[in-house]
């Protein structure tokens, strides 16, 4: 699977980046490619490119708050999960998404 993701938590200094790391490690371990954008207190970092979004099979929104740039994902399959869950079980989330995608 090709995945793009956005991570954003409330204080924007810790959970955001932990979620990013967890997603990347889990996705790579499962053999997927992933790009993760973070929207922390510092602002947007590692912004997703148009091409990355276009190529992606699914958009994972690991967000607890409203994020900017949602219009970029119009028409894409998206899934929204709280950062706390991503930190706890990134692999299970990705596996679940994969099976859901295959079903439809």
């Amino acid at each position: 699977m090709k995945i793009v993701a956005v991570a954003a938590c409330t204080s924007g200094i810790a959970h955001t980046y932990i979620a990013k790391e967890k997603l990347i490690r889990a996705a790579e371990a499962l053999g997927h490619t992933i790009h993760v954008e973070t929207q922390g207190t510092i602002g947007t970092e590692d912004a997703l490119t148009e091409q990355e979004i276009k190529d992606a099979d699914v958009v994972i929104l690991a967000v607890d708050i409203a994020i900017t740039g949602m219009e970029r994902f119009e028409g894409k399959r998206t899934v929204k999960v709280p950062t706390s869950l991503v930190v706890k079980a990134p692999k299970q989330i990705i596996q679940k998404i994969e099976s859901e995608l295959q079903k439809s």
Binding site: S11, R25, A66, K88, P90, Q92, E100
Partner: protein, 364 residues
């Protein structure tokens, strides 16, 4: 229903995320100003450098209701929601019910703006006027009337009641509430749950009640201080409880903790979640109990150990922080399993996961 609640929570958290830097900057300005003997001044002729800091900080705190309302409204209705949301916050300040008023005002203006965007259809030539003029003006007008004439009364009544309730607590009640606020305020180390009691503390501060804010500031430092104490104690009694990697993480977590950022504890807690959360929650509770019971309060919502001198009873604050952290440290040493030298060296942060319920996750 659950979905609605989740949405409401997301709007609140969004507002908090925009509000935090304002609170931190304003709070520190007040603390620095106060420490140098500054006061709030209203005339240019009275200005000194310390007073400039204090006054600016207080002005910043005055923006809080607007930030809350504005960004709740933004989270609901996107950009057109911001301006009317800020206006609702101003009404909240006028009502003398800054915090609760700000939250309610934000939801009021957000949902009005969203409804207008959805249901008000204008001819093509007027479309550009929608986000610029029609949505903000109409939202502000309807929301403003609602806030002034319908919601204003109840909001000030509730805020007054809360004020009387907190100031009327006796010693044992203070101990109980202090414990609860302290414990919940750090339960997920700066995560989404802890933001709720912390938000209430910030709200009470706006009403001039400093006690709960004192708990919040001190208790937030207990988890990082606590794991540091645990490390020190475990070294003294030669019971190895942390791996090399965790020791490194503690070395990062401690200075973060000094600045009141509890998040540094997360990677350490993750490896042994239940024992760590129990230990830190009890420690935070004890810290909150001591601080609140002995009448310590913080006029500053953020800044860690640097604002302790600005608190109403700095010695109580130091005692609360140290005792709470010590309790956490001792509990960790007692509860955690002894590691062999080999385990301590080899253990990397594990990639193992617990089974979690993913039924709520849906693709759309």
């Amino acid at each position: 229903m659950k979905k609605v609640l989740l949405e409401v929570k997301q709007h609140l958290l969004t507002a908090i995320s925009y509000m935090l830097p304002l609170v931190v900057a304003s709070g520190l300005l007040i603390a620095i100003g106060n420490l140098m003997g500054g006061q709030v001044v209203t005339k240019m002729s009275q200005l000194t450098i310390p007073s400039a800091f204090t006054s600016l900080g207080v002005l910043g705190m005055g923006l809080l209701p607007s930030f809350i309302a504005g960004y709740i409204s933004y989270s609901i209705a996107d950009r057109p929601g911001i301006a009317p949301g800020f206006l609702m916050g101003q009404i909240a300040s006028f009502l003398g019910a800054g915090f609760l008023g700000g939250i309610i005002g934000g939801f009021v203006s957000g949902y009005i703006a969203k409804a207008i965007i959805k249901y008000v259809k204008v001819p093509k030539w007027a479309e550009a006027l929608m986000p610029m003029m029609i949505v903000p003006t109409l939202t502000a007008a309807i929301g403003g009337l609602l806030m002034y004439f319908v919601l204003g009364g109840p909001i000030t009544y509730i805020t007054g009641g809360l004020h009387d309730f907190i100031t009327g607590l006796d010693q044992s009640q203070k101990a109980l509430y202090g414990f609860v606020i302290g414990a919940i305020g750090c339960i997920d180390y700066g995560g989404a749950i802890s933001k709720v009691p912390n938000l209430i503390c910030d709200g009470l501060l706006l009403e001039g009640i400093t006690g709960p804010e004192g708990i919040k500031v001190l208790a937030a430092m207990v988890p990082p201080f606590g794991v540091t104490f645990a490390l020190l104690i475990s070294k003294v009694i030669k019971k190895r409880i942390y791996t090399d990697q965790e020791v490194d993480a503690i070395k990062v977590a401690f200075p973060m903790g000094v600045c009141m950022i509890s998040e540094g504890v997360i990677p350490i807690a993750m490896n042994d979640l239940i024992r760590t959360v129990i230990s830190t929650s009890i420690g935070c509770g004890v810290c909150g109990m001591i601080s609140f019971m002995f009448g310590n309060g913080s006029p500053v919502p953020s800044g860690g150990v640097f604002v302790i001198p600005a608190m109403s009873k700095p010695l109580v604050a130091v005692a609360a922080l140290l005792i709470g952290s010590l309790v956490t440290g001792v509990l960790l040493v007692v509860l955690k399993k002894r590691l062999t030298e080999e385990e301590a060296r080899n253990n990397v942060f594990t990639d193992e996961e617990e089974e979690v319920d993913l039924s709520s996750i849906q693709l759309s």
